[in-house]
């Protein structure tokens, strides 16, 4: 109720007129039970009211509850009424009241319990009057009173906010704990200077590793980019094909003859021709004078390049096959072997017994020549039976089925294997063997059925050599020799004559045809049926065969004869001195192998009917053997000189033609030249397959190269080797390559163009025993070198390409080399002569002195020997019969 409110507002003495104050105070009033101290509730009777003029609701209403009373009035009242006055309770206060006016406030609502209250203090009075309003001039005093009084804080009434505060506040639940630590270092450690050093342990780093439990996704990345201009310059080059019109024409355009004439007559043409002719002629002449386009550098280089660029010879030979025959080759050594001239892959090997030198010479045992084929390396394909050990044999060049061999006992033996030629052909690698049940079974009886061919003919012992035949050769089919030793033409172009040599100092010529002399005296021997198969090709020769021509080799200078071991003929190629038609016919005959006439039908033509060939070189290179000549033991009073003379193995160049000597009979001519190049034996004499006049001779310690026609000696001699050289051969494909087999089973390859002091390559231990024969063989695809040794094994090696392919200009280089060597030889000889002429005076004295000195020395030596032997106790009873050898090599 608004009036109530304003009343209560005015009645409260606390506020100063503020709104807040009003509101605050109104509830304050309601709650306060008491009344302020400065007011006193009074009850005024109506009399009093009338007296004072404050009748309720008349003078004092709710709107004007204030009535100022004079103090004097009040005091009067007291006097008047004394105890009955309404103001009796406040009498004292009124008396004490400083002011004159007393405020009486009508308390209509009985807020303080009574209907009127008296304001006791002037301040309160002021206050209340001020609160009541300003228009009244009395009220400002009241307000002033009230304003001076500072409001006093009311007691706090809990309204629940303290709980919230309690919740939010932080209080210590317990007392703070106090820990005291005593952490300290020893005193002395404080303050020393710090020493820094590297840690002795390995630096343990703390490598960062990604923690799998933890990953930060990089949400922000530093990134920069820059714009680059898109300009890029490049260039290419195209081939720039020029477009050209291409047209084809099917027939060439030509001028007709009239047009040509027309043009030729035209003036422009004539002018042109004039102009051009001179320059053309000049150019043509230039050409003929000189070749301006020669590359001189290149032309120079062809000679020297070869030596540097020659490829290296590989270190090992590739073994292709080894041939051994269990049955027949065991315990035997191979003396020689030959490649079959026509059949590829067939080799004939001569097996001989290993004998020492002292065994009897004429013991005849079963020996064989064994045929091997590439297809079967451990079984023989064919066996040739021989009357004795064969040291040399050859295939006939015109008919490979005829084989001639020389025996240990000096016999010459012939075989004819025509019956088995098909069989042999079948054994060639790559060909199927013809099914021939008669001769062999395919499976396990092969060895037993190796066909054995017995010799067709053997020369009777009385006609043969007295010593083992060491070399046999067929005369080439281009000429033959009469029984006077003259070379004549060979009508049939068949090799029919054989030359043999033996250390019995003779060379014999044999003819396989029916000889004229013995035609009438042919005997048909009854015991011709033999257990083995052989052909009757040479029936005519049985028992009657004899050489038609013999050559002996008297020595130059001394008596005695040379003992030839190997010889070498010049292969004579028939120069066509017939008419063209005849030669063709002959060539056809030669080529056409079916037309070989049967040997038994051949007759030795009469010597007179044949035309002699003048240009046949009848000279032979012969390698000889040692001849031991003992001089008798002479006991001369003062000198005991006893020595063996060893004739060194010499190379003889001799002619086989005999000359008519004084007595009118044919006499062997003395050799033209004789050279002492090799010591001991000569085991190979072979012509080079590339040069007709170059001959290789191999002795025991060295080898030499000879040129036919050079009379001074060998043009090249190799240095002596430590091992015995046992055999050697030229290479068939490279003119400068030689192969030499040694006693220890190694093979040396010499390249004449590279170096002459040592071999280019030594293949050591090719075989475990002495090598007895080496022969190369070439075909278009393969090159082989077959090596035979003393153990009966035949090894076949494939020759590396470097040994087969000749280097550039090898032949011409080799020729030049030979010429150089020849010149050197001549030079040397010349100088030797010169030197021999000069100091002749000096030599005269020396030969007289020497024997004396030697004699004395020898005496001393004898004495020394006696002493030593006495000392050793070996001195035998007869010292005189000792013969001392003083080898003089």
């Amino acid at each position: 109720m608004p009036p109530k409110r304003s009343k209560s507002a005015t009645s409260s003495a606390g506020s100063k007129g503020k709104g807040k104050g009003k509101r605050i105070q109104s509830p304050v009033h309601e709650t306060k039970p008491g009344h302020p101290d400065d007011i006193f509730p009074l009850v005024l009777t109506s009399a009093t009211q009338k007296l004072f003029g404050c009748c309720s609701d008349v003078d004092v209403t709710g709107e004007r509850p204030y009535k100022l009373l004079k103090k004097d009035d009040v005091i009067k009242d007291f006097k008047t009424r004394a105890a009955v006055s309404d103001f009796s309770p406040v009498k004292q206060i009124v008396l004490d009241y400083p002011d004159d006016d007393l405020l009486l406030v009508f308390d209509r609502d009985f807020i303080y319990g009574q209907s009127f209250y008296l304001v006791l203090t002037p301040e309160a009075k002021e206050r209340i009057l001020n609160v009541a309003g300003s228009p009244e001039p009395e009220t400002p005093q009241v307000f002033e009173d009230e304003a001076i009084k500072t409001p006093e804080p009311e007691p706090w009434i809990s309204l629940g906010s303290e709980q919230e505060i309690e919740e939010e506040s932080v209080r210590e639940t317990r007392e703070k704990l106090l820990f005291t630590y005593k952490l300290s270092e020893v005193r002395r450690k404080f303050g020393p200077p710090a020493v820094f050093s590297d840690s002795k342990t390995a630096v343990t780093g703390c490598p960062s590793c990604p923690d799998s439990r933890f990953s930060i996704k990089l949400m922000l990345r530093d990134f920069g980019c820059r714009a680059v201009p898109r300009l890029h310059s490049s260039n290419t080059q195209t081939k720039g094909k020029l477009t050209s019109d291409v047209s084809t024409q099917y027939t060439p355009r030509e001028f007709s003859n009239e047009e040509k004439e027309e043009i030729l007559r035209s003036e422009s043409f004539l002018n042109f021709f004039e102009k051009v002719t001179s320059s053309m002629l000049k150019a043509l002449q230039q050409e003929t004078i000189m070749n301006v386009f020669v590359d001189r550098w290149k032309a120079m280089g062809t000679t020297s390049e070869d030596e540097y660029l020659s490829p290296e010879v590989p270190k090992h030979l590739m073994l292709f096959k080894v041939f051994t025959e269990e049955k027949y080759a065991k315990g035997k050594k191979i003396s020689t072997f030959n490649w079959h001239p026509t059949l590829h892959g067939v080799i004939a090997v001569a097996l001989t017994e290993k004998r020492t030198e002292d065994s009897p010479m004429f013991e005849s045992e079963d020996s064989f020549i064994v045929f091997y084929s590439f297809s079967d390396s451990s079984h023989a394909q064919l066996l040739l039976e021989c009357p004795g050990d064969i040291f040399a044999f050859e295939f006939c060049p015109s008919d490979p089925n005829i084989i001639v061999g020389g025996c240990r006992n000096g016999q010459v033996v012939l075989w004819d294997v025509s019956a088995h030629s098909i069989h042999l052909k079948g054994t060639q690698p790559g060909e199927k063997a013809p099914f021939n049940t008669a001769t062999f079974d395919v499976d396990d009886h092969k060895e037993k059925n190796t066909p054995v061919v017995r010799y067709c003919a053997a020369s009777p012992i009385e006609n043969s050599h007295k010593a083992p035949i060491t070399d046999v050769q067929w005369l080439p089919p281009t000429f033959e020799v009469t029984n006077r030793g003259l070379p004549v033409e060979n009508k049939y172009n068949i090799s029919t004559q054989v030359v043999t040599c033996s250390p019995d100092c003779s060379i014999m010529f044999w003819d396989v045809r029916v000889s004229n002399v013995n035609r009438s005296a042919r005997k048909q021997s009854a015991d011709q049926k033999a257990p083995y198969s052989f052909l009757n090709t040479f029936k005519h020769l049985v028992d009657t065969w004899r050489p038609f021509y013999k050559v002996s080799l008297p020595m130059i200078g001394t008596t005695g004869k040379y003992a030839p071991l190997k010889f070498c003929l010049e292969p004579y190629i028939c120069v066509a001195n017939h008419t063209a038609g005849a030669t063709e016919a002959e060539n056809e005959n030669a080529v056409n192998s079916e037309v070989i006439p049967d040997f038994s039908q051949l007759r030795v033509p009469l010597a007179e009917t044949l035309t002699p060939l003048e240009d046949v070189n009848t000279k032979l290179f012969i390698g000889t053997e040692v001849i031991k000549a003992k001089k008798n033991v002479k006991r001369v009073a003062c000198s005991i000189l006893m020595c063996f003379y060893f004739q060194s193995g010499e190379i003889i160049y001799s002619d086989w033609k005999k000359v008519i000597d004084n007595s009118g009979s044919l006499e062997s001519v003395k050799p033209l030249h004789c050279f002492n190049t090799h010591y001991w034996l000569v085991n190979t004499v072979q012509r080079s397959p590339f040069f007709k006049d170059i001959i290789l001779t191999i002795g025991n310690w060295n080898f030499a190269i000879w040129k036919e026609g050079v009379t001074g000696g060998p043009i090249i001699v190799s240095p002596n080797s430590e091992q015995w050289c046992t055999v050697g051969c030229w290479s068939l494909t490279r003119p400068a390559i030689l192969f030499i087999g040694k006693e220890d089973g190694s093979i040396e390859v010499w390249n004449l163009l590279e170096k002459m002091i040592e071999p280019v390559r030594v293949y050591a231990q090719v075989s475990n025993a002495k090598i007895t024969c080496i022969k190369p063989w070439t075909s278009s695809k393969q090159n082989f070198l077959a090596v035979a040794d003393e153990l009966g094994m035949l090894c076949m090696f494939e020759m590396p390409k470097t040994l087969c392919v000749p280097s550039r200009n090898e032949i011409s280089n080799l020729e030049k080399y030979f010429v150089v060597e020849e010149d050197r030889l001549q030079d040397r000889l010349r100088r030797k002569e010169q030197r021999a002429k000069e100091p002749k005076r000096m030599d005269c004295d020396k030969p007289l002195k020497l024997p004396v000195d030697e004699e004395q020395e020898y005496k001393n030596y004898l004495k020394l020997e006696e002493q030593i032997l006495k000392g050793l106790g070996l001195l035998s009873a007869t010292p005189e019969s000792h013969t001392f050898s003083h080898t003089h090599l």
Binding site: P252, R253, E254, F255, K260, I263, L264, R265, S268, F269, L270, F272, F273, K275, V276, T277, S279, M280, L281, A283, L284, Q285, E287, T288, N291, F293, V294
Partner: protein, 96 residues
């Protein structure tokens, strides 16, 4: 005409000359001492070559022109004398 013949004989008599061909600027043979097939072949091939050679020379220097062309091969030498309208070709075996 007779002069031409005579001169041709002179050229022919030089050492090693195998053949002579005269062709016009289009490559058609006019006179030859070889057989027809060879002539035609030579003419066609050499004509192209001369054109090429000439254009090469002139490209390098337009003031220049081809005066003589010699082709030396292993077996022989071909000499060509070109002109505006005609070519003279001589085949010779070098003497070495």
């Amino acid at each position: 005409m007779a002069e031409v013949e005579e001169t041709l004989k002179r050229i022919q008599s030089q050492n090693g000359v195998q053949g002579i061909i005269i062709i016009n600027s289009e490559g058609i043979p006019i006179k030859t001492t070889l057989d027809n097939a060879s002539t035609v072949q030579y003419a066609g091939l050499i004509h192209q070559l001369v054109m090429k050679a000439r254009s090469t020379v002139r490209d390098i220097d337009p003031q220049n022109d081809l005066t003589f062309l010699r082709i030396r091969s292993k077996k022989n030498e071909i000499m060509i004398a070109p002109d505006k309208d005609y070519f003279l070709i001589v085949i010779q075996n070098p003497s070495d």
